[in-house]
C-alpha cells in the first residue's frame, strides 16, 4: 500500500508535540484536518493554475493555516507555545501540504491512515506524559517508580517517533525510504540544540544542523544494503540515529 498520510509532518509532530496528551491530541487532529484540506485544494486547483503556482499556494496556505490553528487552539487550552514551536508548526503544515499531492483522490484511505497516525501520536503523548509526571492531564494513575522529567525532553520524541512510524509502516505495509525529512529535522535541531551555549547561542544549533545532515547521509548510505526490517527502513532508522546522537550530546550539557 502506498503512504497516503503526511509522514514527515507526523514525524515532526512526534518530536514536537508528543510530550503531553493535550498537545498530541490537538496537533494530531489539526494536522489531519489540514492534510485533507490541502488535498481537496490540490484537486480543486489542479487544472486552474500552473503546477508551480498550485504547489506554492497550497504550501503557503498549509503552513500558515496550521501554525495559526495551533496557536489559537493552544491559547484556548492554556498550553504554552514558544516561538520555535510556532515556527516548526508552520514547517509541519508545509510538509502536510507537500504530501497532500499523493492522496490522488483516495480520501478514505488518507483519512484512515492519518487517523491511525494521530492515534499512535496520542498514545505516545499519553505514555510520555505519564512517564514524565506520573499523571495524565492532571489525573494521577497507578504509581510508577521510574518517573523522570527526561521523558518529556525532545530526545525521547525521536524514540517515540521512530517506533510510531515503524508501527505505521508495519500496519500499512509501506516503507518510508525516500523522504525529505532533512530540512524539517535541521530546523528542529537548530531551534532545540542538544547543547546550549549562552555566549554563542547560534553556534550549537548551526553545528547541530551540519551534524544532522552528515549523519542522515551516512546512515542512508550505510543502510542501503543492510538487512533492517521493512518497517524500520528509512525514517525510523534515521530518527533513531539522530535521536541517539542527540541524547549523547545532551549528556555533555553540564
Amino acid at each position: 500500500m502506498k503512504s497516503r498520510y503526511p509522514v514527515e509532518a507526523f514525524v515532526l509532530a512526534f518530536l514536537l508535540f508528543s510530550g503531553t496528551m493535550k498537545e498530541a491530541l490537538v496537533s494530531g487532529i489539526l494536522l489531519t484536518e489540514i492534510f485533507l484540506l490541502c488535498a481537496l485544494l490540490y484537486r480543486f486547483l489542479e487544472e486552474k493554475l500552473p503546477m508551480w503556482s498550485q504547489k506554492a499556494c497550497i504550501l503557503i496556505m498549509g503552513s500558515v493555516f496550521y501554525a495559526c490553528m495551533i496557536q489559537i487552539s493552544f491559547w484556548y487550552l492554556d498550553i504554552a507555545l514558544t516561538g520555535s514551536q510556532w515556527l516548526l508548526a508552520a514547517v509541519i503544515g508545509g510538509y502536510a501540504s507537500f504530501a497532500s499531492g499523493q492522496v490522488e483522490g483516495k480520501y478514505s484511505v488518507a483519512l484512515y491512515q492519518s487517523c491511525l497516525a494521530w492515534g499512535i501520536l496520542l498514545f505516545s503523548g499519553i505514555l510520555r506524559e505519564y512517564l514524565t509526571t506520573g499523571m495524565v492531564n492532571g489525573a494521577a494513575l497507578v504509581a510508577v517508580p521510574a518517573v523522570t522529567k527526561a521523558f518529556g525532553n525532545i530526545m525521547f520524541g525521536f524514540l517515540t517517533g521512530a517506533i510510531g512510524i515503524a508501527a505505521l509502516n508495519g500496519i500499512f505495509k509501506t516503507e518510508a525510504n525516500h523522504n525529505c525529512l532533512l530540512p524539517g529535522l535541521a530546523i528542529l535541531v537548530f531551534c532545540y540544540p542538544p547543547i546550549v551555549m549562552p555566549g554563542a547561542v547560534w553556534l550549537p544549533g548551526t553545528a547541530g544542523v551540519l551534524l544532522t545532515a552528515l549523519l542522515l547521509y551516512s546512515v542512508r548510505r550505510r543502510l542501503r544494503f543492510s538487512n533492517a526490517g521493512k518497517s524500520w527502513k528509512g525514517i525510523p532508522v534515521e530518527l533513531l540515529s539522530v535521536g541517539f546522537w542527540y541524547m549523547i550530546l545532551k549528556g555533555f550539557q553540564l
Binding site: 491530541l25 487532529i29 485533507l36 481537496l40 483522490g105 483516495k106 488518507a110 483519512l111 492532571g138
Partner: protein, 316 residues
C-alpha cells in the same frame, strides 16, 4: 463534482467537527483543574509576605489568610545544610504556628538513593499535622560549653550491632581527657582489638588494623579535647583522622556518653525533658545527616513563626 470529491468534503467535514469537539471537550474536561488553579491563585494573592531579615536559614515567609475569616496558615521557605549541600524546604504551619501541616522538599543535592529519600512520602508524611518542634530519635544532647570534666575513669557500652558490642573507657585527669580505649566484643566475648592484633580480624591487607585505627581516633580526641572536629558522613565514617576508614558512629556515641558522665550531666533527664515537648521523627535509614537537616529546617521555620506571632499580636 464526482463521488470522490464528495467523499473528500465529507471526510473534511467529519474531521473538522471532530477537531472542534476534541478542543472544546478538552477545555471542558480541564475546566475543573483551571478553577482550582484560579482559586489557588486567589489564595496566593491574599498571602501577606513577612519580613525574614535576620533569620538564618529562612528564605521567605507568608501568612495566608483564611477565606472565611478563620485562622490562617503560615508558609515558610527554609533551608538547612544537608550532606551534599543546602536543602530548601517549604513548611506549612497552622494559624497558631504550633502544628506543622505539611512539609515538602523543594530542592536538594543529596546522594541519589540515600539522602534523596527525604523527598519520599513515607518520610515527609510524618510531618503532617505534627506538633513542632521536631527531633530525631537518639539525637545526642550536646555538652554545654561551660561543662568541666571531673577526674576519674568512665565507661560506656553500646548495643549489639552486626555481632559486636562496643565498649569504651575514658580516663580524665586534671579535667582533661588523658586516655580513651575503644574496643568491641563479639558474642563469644572476644575482643576485636586482640583479634586484629593477632591478624584474625583483617579489613584490608595494606591499611591500619582495627586496633591501630581505634587508637588513632582516641589520640586525635585526646589531642583536641573535644569531638567537634569529628564530622561523620552518611556512611558513619570520617575523613578527619588520617588512616581511619572504619565506621566511627559507635565511638562517637560512647565518647559523648563518657564526657557527659564526666561532666555530671544526666543525659536521660535532659533527653527526656527535650523529647517530651518535641515530636520524634524517624530518620531515613542511612541518611541521618539529610534527615537532621530536614528537622533543623522545620525547627528554624517553627522558631521564626513563633517570633513572628509574638511580634505581631494581630495574628495571635
Amino acid at each position: 463534482m464526482d463521488q470522490k470529491e464528495w467523499k473528500g468534503y465529507l471526510a473534511l467535514a467529519v474531521v473538522t467537527a471532530a477537531a472542534f469537539a476534541v478542543i472544546i471537550g478538552t477545555r471542558a474536561l480541564t475546566a475543573r483543574t483551571g478553577t482550582q488553579q484560579e482559586s489557588s491563585r486567589e489564595t496566593v494573592e491574599q498571602a501577606e509576605v513577612l519580613n525574614v531579615e535576620g533569620y538564618e536559614g529562612i528564605r521567605q515567609g507568608e501568612y495566608i489568610a483564611s477565606e472565611n475569616g478563620g485562622a490562617g496558615s503560615y508558609r515558610i521557605l527554609a533551608e538547612a545544610q544537608g550532606y551534599g549541600g543546602p536543602i530548601f524546604m517549604e513548611v506549612l504551619f497552622d494559624g497558631m504556628g504550633s502544628r506543622v501541616k505539611g512539609v515538602s522538599v523543594l530542592e536538594h543535592t543529596e546522594t541519589e538513593g540515600v539522602g534523596s529519600k527525604i523527598t519520599e512520602t513515607d518520610f515527609l508524611a510524618q510531618f503532617n499535622d505534627c506538633k513542632a518542634p521536631v527531633t530525631l530519635p537518639e539525637q545526642e544532647t550536646p555538652l554545654p560549653e561551660e561543662a568541666v570534666l571531673q577526674d576519674g575513669s568512665y565507661q560506656a557500652a553500646g548495643t549489639e550491632y552486626d555481632g559486636y558490642t562496643d565498649q569504651l573507657t575514658m580516663t580524665v585527669e586534671q579535667n582533661h581527657i588523658t586516655g580513651i580505649v575503644w574496643d568491641s566484643l563479639d558474642q563469644g566475648g572476644n575482643s576485636k582489638r586482640i583479634l586484629a592484633d593477632r591478624g584474625e580480624y583483617v579489613m584490608t591487607e595494606t591499611g591500619l588494623t582495627w586496633s591501630e585505627q581505634a587508637d588513632a581516633l582516641a589520640a586525635a580526641v585526646i589531642e583536641k579535647q573535644s569531638m567537634e572536629f569529628l564530622k561523620v558522613n552518611e556512611q558513619g565514617k570520617t575523613d578527619a583522622v588520617a588512616g581511619v576508614s572504619i565506621s566511627i558512629g559507635g565511638f562517637v556515641s560512647l565518647v559523648q556518653d563518657c564526657m557527659q558522665q564526666a561532666a555530671g550531666i544526666d543525659q536521660e533527664a535532659l533527653a527526656g525533658n527535650a523529647v517530651s515537648q518535641e515530636t520524634v521523627i524517624d530518620a531515613v535509614t542511612g541518611a541521618t545527616i539529610s534527615s537532621k537537616a530536614v528537622t533543623e529546617a522545620v525547627n528554624r521555620a517553627y522558631q521564626y513563626v513563633q517570633d513572628v506571632m509574638v511580634t505581631d499580636t494581630g495574628k495571635k
